[in-house]
C-alpha cells in the first residue's frame, strides 16, 4: 500500500491487472498495456483490476479481447516512451509491419475489433482499424462499397435515392 504510485514497475515485476471478458474469461496483463485503453486507464490508476478483483468488460468477448491485448502488449513500450523519441527506425518499421499483419483478418473479426477499440477507447487501434476499412473501400463505387462491407442489397427505396443522387454525382462513377 505504501508503494509509490509513480513507479512504472521498472523496479521488480511490472504491475499486473486482470480483465474479464463478456464470456467470463480472465486475462492477466501488464497495467501499462491495459492502460492504452482510456476507458481502463482511470480504473487502473485508482488501483482497480489488481488482486482477485479483475475488471469486467461486458462488451468484449474473449476472442476479441485477446486480439486487442495482443495489440496493446505490442504497442505498450512505444507508448511508454511517449511515442517516438527513443524509437529507432527499426522499431517503428517493426510496429508498422505488426500493424499491417494485425488487421489482415476476417471482416467479422475486424468489426468486433472496431467496436472493442471504440468501447475501450484505444486511440491507436481505433485509428488502425478505421484506416483499414478506409483502404478497403477507396477506389470503389458506392455499390462495390456496399458489397465489400456486407451491406444488404439496397431496398427499392434506397435504390431510387441512389439513382437520384447519381444524377448529381454521376461523374464519381467514372
Amino acid at each position: 500500500m505504501a508503494a509509490p504510485e509513480s513507479g512504472d514497475g521498472n523496479n521488480g515485476a511490472a504491475r499486473m491487472v486482470t480483465l474479464i471478458s463478456s464470456d467470463n474469461t480472465r486475462f492477466e496483463v501488464e497495467a501499462a498495456a491495459a492502460s492504452l485503453s482510456q476507458t481502463l486507464q482511470l480504473t487502473i490508476l485508482d488501483g482497480g483490476g489488481g488482486g482477485g478483483d479483475g475488471i469486467p468488460l461486458p462488451n468484449v468477448d474473449s476472442a476479441t479481447l485477446s486480439k486487442v491485448l495482443e495489440y496493446c502488449i505490442k504497442h505498450a513500450p512505444a507508448a511508454a516512451n511517449g511515442g517516438a523519441p527513443n524509437a529507432t527506425a527499426v522499431d517503428r518499421a517493426e510496429l508498422e509491419r505488426f500493424d499491417n499483419e494485425f488487421v489482415n483478418i476476417d471482416q467479422s473479426v475486424l468489426y468486433s475489433l472496431i467496436m472493442a477499440a471504440h468501447n475501450l477507447e484505444i486511440e491507436g487501434l481505433q485509428s488502425l482499424v478505421a484506416k483499414k476499412v478506409a483502404d478497403m473501400i477507396k477506389g470503389k463505387s458506392p455499390m462495390e462499397i456496399r458489397r465489400t462491407l456486407g451491406f444488404p442489397d439496397p431496398t427499392p427505396e434506397e435504390q431510387a435515392e441512389m439513382n437520384a443522387h447519381m444524377l448529381e454525382y454521376g461523374w464519381a462513377y467514372e
Binding site: 476479441t64 467479422s108 468486433s112 467496436m115 462491407l149 451491406f151 461523374w171 464519381a172
Partner: protein, 126 residues
C-alpha cells in the same frame, strides 16, 4: 457476448463511420462516392462538423485548384471565363446543372481548357 456480434459495417455506430470516412484520401470524388453508400453515410458526409474535420485532417495537402475565373470585359458581351488548371483530374465547372448551380463534371483530359460562363457565375474582377 451479443455486444460484439457486429458482422457487417451496417451496424457500426456513426462515430466509427466518421473515423473511417475521415481517413479517405482527399481527392474530390471520394466523399460523394461515400455519400451514395447509404442514407446514414450521406448524412455524416453532409455534417458541417465532419467536413471541417476532414479539411483539417488533410490540410497538409493543398486543395486542388480546379481553375480560375477571369472576366473578358468586352462591353458588348461581358463574359466570365473559367479556365481549368489541368490538375483537376478531368473535373471542371460546367453550367450543365443550370446557370445558377454550376457543377463539377468530367471533362476530357487536356492540359487546360476554356469555358465561357455567363458573367454572373464568376466573380467580377476589377
Amino acid at each position: 457476448m451479443a455486444a460484439s456480434l457486429v458482422t457487417t459495417a451496417v451496424l457500426l455506430p456513426d462515430i466509427v463511420v466518421r473515423q473511417i470516412l475521415l481517413r479517405l484520401p482527399p481527392e474530390p470524388w471520394r466523399l460523394p462516392r461515400a455519400a451514395l453508400v447509404c442514407k446514414r453515410w450521406r448524412n455524416i458526409v453532409r455534417e458541417a462538423h465532419f467536413r471541417r474535420q476532414y479539411r483539417a485532417r488533410h490540410s497538409g495537402r493543398r486543395a486542388p485548384v480546379l481553375g480560375v475565373f477571369y472576366n473578358d470585359d468586352v462591353p458588348a458581351a461581358p463574359a466570365c471565363r473559367f479556365i481549368t488548371s489541368g490538375c483537376a483530374r478531368d473535373l471542371a465547372l460546367s453550367p450543365a446543372g443550370g446557370l445558377d448551380r454550376p457543377r463539377l463534371l468530367p471533362w476530357p483530359r487536356c492540359p487546360a481548357r476554356r469555358q465561357v460562363l455567363p458573367s454572373r457565375l464568376g466573380p467580377r474582377l476589377r
